[in-house]
Symmetry: none
Subunit: 231 residues, 2 copies
DNA sequence: TCCAAAATTAACAATTTCTTAATATTTGTG
DNA sequence: CACAAATATTAAGAAATTGTTAATTTTGGA
């Protein structure tokens, strides 16, 4: 993951610079363009891994740019717009935008969305079903099982488990879990995660006070234990 | 790393001199400015590696300066301010400040933050796992192993070992270890590190009284022995 | 709109870790 | 070898983190 390239297109230089700053901080290489033609040129020549595209552009409309780029490649696009109507949203998504951010936006949130879109890129989507130990998570049917028996999870619980189960052994801190399970626009208390973890454990741990699947890493976060390991 | 340049901007001459003294001591070359216009001129002409910027300036507001500088470069900025409200903090960070210190501040802490910001600049992060001799440190899973067997470390112990293991053979003095493992806002006793090192040794040294991995350098600090060396 | 389920927050308890201080040991030096 | 300075060790109290419960707010559907 050595510095993916992100093309940021907006006619407002300040906006572009602000976004660039935040993306740089996340380790991305940032290309910029201030109008539609320049955006097209960059998209064709540099083949960025993702494009952040303002809907309102001088000369050529953002929707046209989006459509044109879409005809030439599958690069993910995050739309940026002042308008917030559902029609715009649908139009943008219909044209192949992967996400949608309305102005004024927090650069922090945009950066989170860029991370999210790029993260779910490689290999499109993972397998429909993942098994580890006695836990089975089926993303297609949105079901979870413990030793073959279905367990009923709330949406947040399902996402939490899903995120951790995809990378067994990896420690996720609360901020990471919030970003994945509660959404990057969540502004609340990060210990909310604790309660969801607690509820998850009650549903899937044989002995919730001695967790076998979801382990706490003191001072760091939580992780789903890789299968077979018991330490 | 030959003397990075830091621009310090504050209308109070004493403050500037105090900060300059501490930064000089750390080996930085320090430029100074007492008002907004001078700050802008310096920023444009000298291209410093980092700017310490007071929020309250005569003539031009610090936020305006910050915004203007941001339009012209990606130089990291540490905000300095008497106000401490969350809105100010957000405004500053939204404008691209990299860190925030509220007055009155300890010059020691400011210097530490300058080091921290400059350190995380080259960015990215190292490998997920590092091995030396019988020691393995996995940053992804937040685990450490001795000859393949997991050893359970506290957060501070893990950070300490992690820092040293990344640069085997390098001596770290107590202040450096405190900055990395306890945080640059730590105000406590120097010798706290000794206890953590002791506890680390108990967990990972086959014979803690004859350390093989974490060696004491009398009068200097500690180092993680490079693999294969035994002296 | 109203209800039920879910999510979030707040408060307090339980646990783990950190820090300090006091004492012992080791190291370097004249 | 003796002395001073630096480091090691121990144990206890302080601080931080997490677990848990319960009350409140929000959400989504009938």
């Amino acid at each position: 993951m050595a510095g993916k390239r992100v093309l940021v297109v907006d006619d407002d230089v300040k906006t572009v610079e602000l976004v660039k700053l935040y993306l740089n901080r996340d380790g991305y290489r940032v290309l910029t363009a201030n109008d539609g033609l320049e955006a097209l040129r960059q998209a064709r020549e540099a083949h960025p891994d993702l494009i952040v595209l303002d809907l309102m552009l001088p000369g050529m409309d953002g929707l046209d740019i989006c459509r044109t780029i879409r005809e030439e490649s599958d690069v993910p696009i995050i739309m940026l717009t002042a308008r917030a109507t559902d029609e715009d949203k649908l139009a943008g998504l219909g044209l192949g935008a992967d996400d949608y951010v309305t102005k004024p936006f927090s650069p922090r949130e945009l950066a989170a969305r860029v991370r999210a879109v790029l993260r779910r890129l490689p290999g499109e989507r993972g397998p429909d079903e993942i098994k580890h130990g006695g836990i089975t998570v089926n993303f297609r049917s949105h079901e979870a099982f413990l030793d073959g028996n279905p367990i009923s999870l709330t949406p947040v619980e399902f996402k939490l488990l899903g995120v951790m189960v995809k990378e067994p052994g990896r420690v996720f801190n609360r901020e990471q879990l919030i970003e994945e399970a509660l959404g990057y626009d969540f502004e609340g208390f990060n210990r909310t995660i604790d309660v969801h973890i607690l509820n998850l454990r009650r549903k899937l741990e044989p002995d919730p006070s001695h967790p076998r699947y979801i382990r706490t890493i003191y001072g760091a976060g939580y992780k789903f234990l890789e299968a077979g390991r018991d330490t």
